[in-house]
Amino acid sequence: MSSWTAFQAIVAKDMKTYYLKPPNISWGLIFPFAWMLMFYLRSQTPLDIRELLPGVMAMSILFGTTSMLAVTITFERRSRSFERLLLAPLELSLLMLAKTGGAILFGILNAFVPVLVAAFLVDLSGVSWPAVIGSIFLIAATSTFLGLFISVAVHEVFEAQTFSNFFRFPMLFLCGLFIPIGNLPVYLRPLSYILPLTYGADILKTAINKEGALPPWISFSVLFFFSGVSFFSTYGISNANGCFE
C-alpha cells in the first residue's frame, strides 16, 4: 500500500513537472501534423490519412517516450533530485516502473492526438480498437524501456538526446512504416525483425487498414518479450553495477 502511494506520487509528479508542459503537448500536436504534411507534399496525391495513421502514431510514441524519459532521468541525476528517490524505501524495480509509468502514459496520450485529429477528417469505422490500444501500450512500453536503458548509460542530458537519436532514426526507417520490409536490401531485413517498433507498427497497420504482414498474436508476443527483456536487463545492469550511484 505504501509502495503504491509512492508509485502514484512519482507518476503524478513526473506528469506535472515534465510531460504535461506546453512545449511537450505542442510537440505531440505539431509532430504528427508536420509528418502528415511532409508525406502529402512528397506524394503529390490526395492524402490518405487512414493509411498514414499507423506510421504517425508509432512515430509520435517513439519520439515522445524515448528521449523524454532518458532526458528527465539524466536531468534529475545531474540536479541530484534523483537521489531523493533512491533514498526512499522503494525497491529499484518499483522506482524504475514508476519513472517509466509517466513516460508510458505520455506516449499513449501522444498516440491519441493523431487519432483524434483523424477522427474529424476520415471515417475510422472498422478499426480494431482493442488491438490499437494494445499496440499503443506496448510500443510506448518498449520505447520507454529503451529510454530507461539510455538513461542508465549516459551522464549528460545532451548525451541522452544523441544516444536516443542513434536508436530512433534507424528504427524509423527499418521498421517497415515507410519502406516495406520486403523492399529493403536483403542484408538489412534481419535488422528489421529485431526492432520492437516493426511489430508494433505491424499491429497498427492490421488494426487500422488490415495491411499487416504478421499475425497479430505473433507481434503481441514479441512485443511482450521485448518489454520484459529490456526492462529486466536494464534493471539487472543498474542493480549489478550501481549505475544510479
Partner: protein, 321 residues
C-alpha cells in the same frame, strides 16, 4: 544506546580510496559531528550509511541489525539532507514536502498536515505556494531539511547544512537542529565549520584523507590535549605588584600579567583557587572574574590532524563562492 554502527567501512573508486577503514557508533539522541576538510570522505561516508553508495567492504548496522546488503530496510527511518538542496524546482514548497512524504507511504491527509506544520515550524508558511526555484538559498536549505524530516526519521543525516548561506539563515538552521535533537531526533552532522561542531555536537569525529583520526565527546577531545591548566583572573586595583606577589607566594605556578586588569596562572597540575584569592585580598586587590582557559576545538583539531584551521576556512570561503 547505540543507534547506528559503522564497522570498518571502505569505499574505493577505481584507484582512489575515499573511505578507508572507518568505524564508529552514533548513540541514540545525540548530535554526532563528522569534521574534516573538503575531500576527507564526509559525504561518501553519509552515502555509504544511507545506501546511496555501495560499500567496497565493511558493515553498517541500525539498532543492531545489519543493513549493508539491503539498505532499503533502513531507509524508512533515515532522513537525509544533502549539501546542496535537491528538491524539485518546478514544485512549490507544499508540493515538494507532500511528494517527499508520499515517497515514505504517508497517506494524503497526514502528509498535508505534516507539510503545513513543518512550513510553520521553519518559518516558511508564507512561501508554501511559491515554486522552489524562487526561494533564497537559506529558504531552500530550510525546506530541504523539512523534507528530510517529513517522515519523522529516527536519524537525520545533515551534510554541511550551513555552508554557503547567509549568517541569519545559518543561525536559524543551527537552532532548528538543536530543536529537532531536543525533540528526540538523532543527528549525524558533517561540517568543516569547527565552531559549528563545537557548538552543536555531543560527540565529534575527525576525518582526514578517508580515515578517522580521533573520536570523542568535546570534553574528552579537549582533555586529551590539555597539557596544562590555565586560570585567568580579572583583578581590580592590582597594579603590577599583584602578579609578583602571587609568583613569590606560589612558586609552583607560573604567573603572567596579560594586561592592566588580567593575569594568567599556569600549572601542570590543577590550580587551587582559594589560596590565590586570599593572597590577592591581603594586598587589597579584589578578583572580579576567574575562569579556566581550555584549548579550543580548533586547537585540538590542528594538533590532531596537522591541518591548519585557516585552510578549512579558505575551503569554506571557496565553497561559498
Amino acid at each position: 544506546m547505540e543507534l547506528l554502527k559503522a564497522d570498518n567501512l571502505v569505499k574505493r573508486f577505481d584507484e582512489v580510496t575515499a573511505v578507508d577503514g572507518v568505524s564508529f557508533s552514533v548513540h541514540r539522541g545525540e548530535i554526532f559531528g563528522f569534521l574534516g576538510p573538503n575531500g576527507a570522505g564526509k559525504t561518501t561516508t553519509i552515502n555509504l550509511l544511507t545506501g546511496l553508495a555501495r560499500l567496497t567492504s565493511g558493515s553498517v548496522f541500525l539498532e543492531g541489525e545489519e543493513y549493508s546488503a539491503q539498505p532499503k530496510r533502513a531507509q524508512g527511518v533515515m532522513g537525509v539532507v544533502p549539501d546542496e538542496s535537491n528538491l524539485y524546482e518546478e514544485l512549490d514548497g507544499i508540493e515538494n514536502l507532500t511528494f517527499c512524504a508520499a515517497l515514505y507511504g504517508m497517506e494524503r491527509r497526514r502528509r498535508e498536515q505534516r507539510a503545513k506544520g513543518l512550513l510553520e515550524q521553519f518559518g516558511l508558511s508564507e512561501t508554501g505556494k511559491r515554486p522552489f526555484r524562487t526561494y533564497s538559498k537559506g529558504m531552500k536549505r530550510k525546506l530541504t531539511i523539512a523534507a528530510g524530516i517529513i517522515h519523522q526519521p529516527k536519524i537525520l543525516f545533515l551534510d554541511e547544512p550551513t555552508t554557503g548561506i547567509d549568517v541569519a539563515s545559518a543561525r536559524q538552521i543551527r537552532s532548528l537542529i538543536v530543536e529537532l535533537n531536543r525533540g528526540g531526533t538523532t543527528v549525524f552532522l558533517t561540517t568543516h565549520y569547527i565552531e559549528e561542531a563545537e557548538r552543536l555536537c555531543h560527540r565529534i569525529a575527525f576525518i582526514v584523507g578517508g580515515r578517522l583520526v580521533r573520536i570523542g565527546s568535546l570534553e574528552e577531545l579537549m582533555k586529551e590535549h590539555q597539557q596544562e591548566t590555565v586560570l585567568e583572573l580579572a583583578v581590580e586595583m592590582a597594579g603590577s605588584e599583584a602578579a609578583h606577589v602571587l609568583q613569590r607566594r606560589f612558586p609552583r605556578y607560573a604567573v603572567h600579567r596579560s594586561d592592566e586588569r588580567h593575569m594568567r596562572v599556569v600549572s601542570a597540575d590543577p590550580i587551587d583557587l582559594l589560596p590565590l584569592l586570599g593572597a590577592l585580598s591581603e594586598i587589597g586587590a579584589s578578583v572580579t572574574e576567574a575562569k579556566l582557559i581550555r584549548p579550543t576545538l580548533e586547537e585540538v583539531f590542528v594538533r590532531v590532524t596537522g591541518i591548519e584551521s585557516s585552510l578549512m576556512r579558505q575551503e569554506r570561503e571557496g565553497k561559498k563562492k
